[in-house]
Symmetry: D2
């Protein structure tokens, strides 16, 4: 059975696993004070061209979103996200569980519009009773978005400027950042992101690691005693080396980029195959997630040979289906898929 369900269905990229093996017998202190973690931080700082970046590693994406948002917001503040944002719909209420409202604005192919953010915040402070409402306290975006789409450098710059004007920290969820950075249709670099956001994370779990996300505070703005905050939320790994070693490997010899590049190349082949066979797409995604529209017959037929994710039902009865590629996808997989389309 061909596997296109998601980008976290396999273990780790072989070089990541190899790094875990190679370092296995070197004793190190716990809780992120090991030398592998230090190395990983140094390499990420260099890759971001952000020598002041304050970095820590967490196990997963929802955990990272919850900790960042709860740490940056005051109790009476909420986080602006587009309605399709991961924090708004697919984290089982993790943000609200930590006490904060998600202030949902419309999405435009999964993206926030800077002007709409400005208007929302301006209107808020013009309300007579704004102290009885939830204060907008920060802005959350993801890149790639839930639909695999990407902000252009111009869009990201405009959003960043609005956030600075409004004194709202801008947080970028990079769960699938490798695929965003390596897309052929992007002009946004890792350095751009480090410059334009206040905090962002470099996704590991969905980009070749066993687990782990690298959280980067770009403006010397890591909340005080962040380790205690992480511990208090049950998110501090005793063996901090687990994430340290993996990110050290991911940022050695361009592995993170290579993982992204490969998956993007596979996604391109996959997209071409669907196009060639006359399938329609729900949205034009330049990254590793492709959203194809299938009728019931196609669903069934393809489902006998390949695994995918059902996304949503369209009003006309057809189904949007996601095919995802990763470091583990092969040209043979794509060819086999094409053969059955």
């Amino acid at each position: 059975m061909l596997f296109f369900v998601n980008d976290y269905g396999h273990g780790a990229h072989p070089q990541v696993l190899e790094a875990l093996s190679n370092t296995n017998f070197i004793p190190q202190p716990g809780y992120g004070s090991d030398s592998f973690t230090e190395n990983a931080k140094a390499k990420i700082r260099a890759a971001c061209q952000c020598p002041d970046a304050e970095i820590c590693f967490l196990a997963g994406g929802t955990q990272t979103n919850q900790i960042v948002i709860d740490s940056l917001l005051k109790p009476y503040e909420g986080v602006i996200s587009c309605v399709t944002g991961h924090v708004n719909g697919h984290e089982a209420g993790a943000i609200e569980h930590s006490g904060h409202k998600v202030l949902a604005l419309p999405h435009h192919e999964g993206k926030l519009c800077p002007e709409e953010v400005r208007a929302y915040v301006k209107n808020f402070y013009e309300e007579e009773a704004f102290e009885h409402m939830v204060f907008p306290g920060m802005v959350y975006i993801s890149h790639p978005t839930e639909y695999g789409t990407l902000y252009s450098k111009q869009e990201l710059t405009a959003l960043s400027e609005v956030c600075r004007e409004l004194k709202l920290p801008l947080y970028l969820d990079g769960a699938r950042l490798a695929y965003g950075l390596m897309s052929e249709q992007t002009d946004v670099t890792l350095q751009d992101i480090a410059q334009l956001t206040d905090v962002f994370y470099i996704g590991g779990t969905k980009c070749g690691a066993l687990c782990g996300e690298a959280l980067v505070f770009t403006k010397k703005n890591m909340p005080c005693h962040f380790l205690a905050r992480i511990k208090q939320k049950g998110a501090l790994l005793a063996k901090g080396r687990l994430t340290g070693v993996q990110f050290d490997a991911l940022f050695t010899d361009g592995l993170y980029e290579e993982i992204g590049r490969h998956a993007i190349r596979m996604a391109k082949l996959l997209k071409d195959a669907f196009i060639e066979k006359g399938y329609a797409f729900h949205m034009d995604s330049p990254t590793n997630q492709q959203f194809v529209i299938l009728n019931d017959e196609q669903l069934k037929h393809i489902g006998q040979h390949a695994m995918y994710s059902r996304w949503e039902k369209l009003p006309d009865g057809r189904t949007v289906v996601r095919f995802a590629t990763s470091w583990a996808t092969t040209e043979e997989d794509i060819a086999a898929l094409k053969a059955i389309l």
Copy 2:
């Protein structure tokens, strides 16, 4: 430099790492619905002789404690723990962060006394104003305790009976369970624990895994929609296979026991070395943590050759120091340590 700082200073036991390699390219669904996780659950159920056990895997110990306690308690309830319990002192307030008071009772070599638990609860309900106080809602213990000590089967049975009499769930934190089970001075088996407690966890992080704890609900009492609760707390691993594969390996061919047995043997050698050289112990620990009393000169001298953890300062100026062994400790390590004592 010799390493006796803790039992989580190395990577994973080689067989655990090998299992990760062997399964790396087999695609699986996420969030714990993979086949490795199913296998691990089946093996743990068998090891516990508890066919009805409901099991899930989490990344770390504080996370597990926080989720279990918050899920089992009603909002107005607190958890009874001895004052030295991990949840009371060393989890950065994770329990209170989730809304619950730790009701601290005296400790006896790190253990709770069943009679004191009964007396505390009886007194509580005799208070005129008990509805203005924190209701005792469950009992937390660890085995081994913070001091490396162990409950005897008689002690654990007595505590279990008191808990049932008082209708309080009994939760056992087994962060270092391998060492407790394999101690030469214990009569408590894994099956006993499954029978006498309502929920417990089998520690992986400190017993040979890269990360991970196996949480076992023994009485068909897993809280409803537990996956959503875990997700909401940011604790759901996308690659559930990471913990599944590791626990599958740990419970294959007696590896978990072997890890415990080896560390216990190393601890015995270490203890004998200290005894032979005339050192005093702070507490008589039958497990892999040994608490030795050192004066300043000894601290310095040993510290030039071996790493350990400082525990506490005694009134007489001497220091209690912890030496811990693990799967990675070798006879050569012990011999080298002995040579410098």
Copy 3:
């Protein structure tokens, strides 16, 4: 200056104040165990024709909403409300602060549509990943709504049936219930509400009391140890008599109805005055809040003589303004207002 800002701008209805005076020197136990509170409960049970009703008194509306919703929901559940619901927009995030998402559905003149509730819940459980989303756990409505509108008996019955079908408790916020019950355009009685909802509150603060809301659990469903839950949230009044005496007075000799009837009569006169003078209304409200559309000139002119609340700006530049009546509004007030229109 004429006062139409809201219905909580004066002290208490004179009979309520008199009751406080008359009982002032009678000593009573605290925390709601006084005899006045008992009397008030008995009278409310009788008025609801719900002899099993479990009742308690709280100081304010947001507090009541927060406590009810947090007590009824499981941690992973959210509350369905229409997007204009008070809990969604005007309680400074009190619901999220207690850990729960407000699941906002469209409003229809401030009301929820039963069919939309059913569709939302059905769709939720058809999602593949629903355990990663916020479970719908109860339904919140207010009556009158934020726009002063009312559910008909048929609408309320339909919503109640949908809730029972879906096993979702139905909670009715009656901050202004007196005005809803005494509207000339309603067929919904207090007994209907007690029968059709699972829990509701009878507003005191906005209906003639100094403070206080009577929370009524209609189906023997008061959460266990509710007093401890209230205390824990800082909401337990030491002098429970303060709310007991007031609600005892409000439910003696039909005072609560009289307060509602008077305000409705004043609102009718006010409405007629605006209509006669040719003003337009934003919504047709059958209760004590009237939403009038004013242009800038009218805003300024009327503002020199009367106080009102600004509600919202219309796209055409005009402003929706709220005029509210209460027990304290007099025919003279209305006549004076009419004179300046």
Copy 4:
């Protein structure tokens, strides 16, 4: 039946009730922006000789403690209190419910020892693993304490100095402040408290009001957007006038002092009566709460004529009983009590 159960068993001091009557028909804006609240603030600022004091009014003591502590602490911080502190034992876990541990130190007749506070904090930062523990973030005391005892000016000054040295805000719970200020055995004035603490509250509920506490931030340190924080916790009264009018009355013509003075005089008579009749005291209280030791026979006999509160059982089987006086206690009450002793 004579009433000595507590100091909140009656309604309000007649002058407070009169003020509510006198102002009843004057319309005012809501949520604390009324003129009575402004007057009350001005009078309290004057009484404290603290022209910069930032003041707000809340309904009750547990609510006030919870809001102050949660607003002043960072998420990873706890509050130091003596073990007998109200926040530690009698608020149903309100502090933990808001996420914070109560760090309980020994009590000395209900009071904290400054040296013990300093030692605790110094030791904390000397721990190797302090980032895994709960940071001490502020200090809570009450005056009078739970045992009716008082800090001397020297003791309060010493504690204040230690707090400043350690950069911990000092918060004083003045639920019964009137009785503390008017005790014959105190040298601590309201001005001293305003100077020596960072925030404190002047109790209304237990000192003659129907409800209400005046929270005073003495160092221009009211947390930002405090109204929104209060609203979010369900603690914002719509009719802010209710507390405003009452505190305006309490701080007019020395009423608050008069209420304290009267109760203290009654307590003195009561104490003398018990002494004269040969009863023993559990603690020597200089305020309105007197803790008398009774045997079972006395308990029963007195209980037939007078109501009191049971406090605790002594090891010898006798019972500590609290007799409290208030503005409503009369000389006749005391004489009648004496007659039955």
